[in-house]
């Protein structure tokens, strides 16, 4: 399927889980497809990076559930900063590890997972819906009950996948993409390269086959689909591009230009063609 075929499956107000971590292996071609659609009022669940920043800047987000929103080499996502400081999105911020337990609880279909993470901190103060539980055993420990995330659709980007939806990561970290896939009602996966099932082990050991087709509902082949975030070993982060993107948060005209140049494009193929032009012009990475 294509990015636009995936977006047809989404609707206003949905809770969308987005895999990756910060500015690392984000399903950016799918995010851009959301941006060129009319989708709005989304609840985005993410270890956020430019996916969150772009969707906030374009006014598509009603609510955010996040462990952080960062561009890694730029510690705070600048468009997310604006969204928070102007109060345009409802923020549900969890400790990074507590966020993992929200995914895990959804995956295991239990209402919550208990943890110490958050006790004593303002994570509880500013998430008044978060409740604590007391251990039913002798120790009587009070713990935070992290509720299962209720995700309608997850979007993840893998290095390789087969047409049936078996996903493979070849970089240093899967992050939580398998949990995003299992936690959501439906999951769509983009990949750098679609390969035959019998070729999945050509580039990585069996340990890299971490998203089974049981949990995917469609695959999009999107070479460069994580750009400008990193997708090792296929490519690193496009830091020059990321800096330009980050600068658009300080300048509405630059943001308008960025939208025209990189977001108001009809397809991922067109985006790639633009990138190739940019590289040819010597202004790129």
């Amino acid at each position: 399927m294509t990015e636009d075929d995936v977006v047809v499956e989404l609707s206003d107000g949905m809770t969308i889980g987005i895999g990756g971590w910060g500015s690392r292996r984000k399903p950016m071609s799918l995010v851009r497809a959301i941006l060129r659609s009319g989708l709005k009022d989304l609840h985005v669940v993410s270890y956020g990076g430019p996916d969150v920043g772009l969707l906030c800047a374009a006014g598509r987000v009603r609510k955010l559930t996040y462990g952080f929103v960062s561009l890694d080499s730029i510690p705070l996502e600048p468009h997310f900063r604006i969204a928070r400081q102007t109060g345009t999105v409802e923020a549900r911020e969890y400790d990074e590890g507590a966020f993992y337990l929200g995914l895990l609880a959804a995956t295991h279909r239990v209402p919550f997972y208990p943890t110490r993470a958050g006790l004593g901190s303002d994570m509880l103060t500013y998430n008044p819906d978060l409740k604590t539980v007391t251990s039913p055993y002798e120790d009587g420990t009070e713990l935070v009950a992290v509720p299962a995330f209720d995700i309608d659709v997850s979007l993840v980007h893998m290095n390789r996948a087969d047409a049936a939806g078996n996903g493979q990561f070849l970089g240093p970290d899967l992050y939580f993409d398998d949990l995003f896939a299992m936690a959501a009602k439906r999951t769509f996966m983009s990949c750098e390269r679609l390969v035959a099932t019998e070729d999945l082990l050509r580039e990585g050991s069996v340990h890299t086959l971490r998203i089974p087709r049981l949990h995917t509902d469609g695959v999009v082949e999107a070479p460069g689909g994580a750009h400008f975030t990193e997708c090792p070993p296929d490519y690193g982060r496009d830091e020059a591009f990321q800096r330009e993107y980050a600068a658009t948060a300080r300048d509405p005209e630059a943001w308008a230009r960025f939208q025209a140049d990189w977001l108001d494009l009809p397809s991922h193929d067109e985006y790639r063609a633009r990138l190739a032009e940019r590289a040819g012009a010597g202004s790129g990475s």
Partner: protein, 270 residues
């Protein structure tokens, strides 16, 4: 001020610069930790962790700051590319983020984090300034601070004390001793703020009411300097020792092995 690239072998301890003194004071936070995951955040704390392991705390486990536990001493700014192929880098373990959380909750971990505000109880904020619900300044966020601080040993590196020490913090990311004391039952039993190191001095919480105590003052800094940069009541012992100077071996490690490109000095530009 000495040139940080000065000859290695018998570096003269007396030419140690303030960044090197701070680095040693921060490394001292790990003394006695033995075999645990030493997980400092940011280049300066990472250098301190690597220094501790390369000298007096050899059983620490350290990462390349990405996903690999590395046995040798990496220079700042180096990460493992291909874990099977990089020359001179010995990978001893795999620590993707999920494993790091599991590891944190297991307790065998000591982190060093930064802070935008910290108070006398050790309440730390790097989440936001102003009203959290619509902050005047959105900072990093809570990040992993709530889970780290309540689950295992934490220290803080604060390169600008006057700007960071605060009577109270706007948002509590990492809870301090007063907050944790209010928790019911044994919920707070793994909480320990080991050390706070600033550009002026080192601090701990080894007081009866667990408020911050001056532990040592860096050479060249006076008690008045420290107090002028502290807006809360600090516990000051009768005799305050000076933070120790780096040994010749430590200076060699800092200047030639761990940070030959002087990344640590960026912390002191202000």
């Amino acid at each position: 001020m000495s040139d940080a690239g000065s000859p290695a072998e018998k570096a003269d301890m007396s030419d140690a610069t303030i960044d090197e003194i701070c680095l040693v004071a921060l490394a001292e936070a790990f003394r006695g930790d033995g075999e645990l995951l030493c997980h400092p955040m940011g280049p300066f704390p990472v250098a301190a962790g690597r220094l501790a392991r390369a000298s007096f705390e050899p059983d620490l486990m350290l990462t390349d700051t990405i996903a690999y536990a590395v046995a040798g001493t990496l220079a700042l700014g180096t990460t493992v590319g291909d874990p099977s192929g990089d020359e001179g880098v010995v990978v001893e373990g795999y620590l993707p983020f999920r494993t790091v959380f599991d590891q944190a909750w297991s307790g065998r971990r000591h982190v060093v984090m930064g802070a935008s505000q910290i108070d006398c109880h050790g309440n730390q904020n790097f989440a936001a300034i102003g009203d959290y619900r619509r902050p005047k300044a959105q900072l990093l966020g809570l990040r992993g601070a709530p889970g780290n601080v309540i689950n295992h040993t934490t220290s803080y590196w604060i390169p600008s004390q006057a700007r960071t020490f605060a009577e109270s913090v706007d948002v509590v990311s990492g809870p301090g001793y007063d907050r944790v004391a209010e928790l019911p039952g044994p919920s707070g039993r793994f909480h320990e703020i080991r050390r706070v190191v600033t550009e002026l001095a080192a601090y701990d919480f080894e007081t009866p009411d667990r408020t911050m105590r001056l532990r040592s003052v860096h050479p060249g800094v006076t008690l008045d300097d420290v107090l002028a940069a502290t807006p809360f009541e600090l516990v000051v012992p009768g005799e305050v020792p000076a933070s120790r100077l780096p040994t010749g071996e430590e200076l060699h490690l800092i200047r030639n092995v761990i940070d030959p490109t002087n990344i640590r000095k960026h912390e002191f530009r202000s």
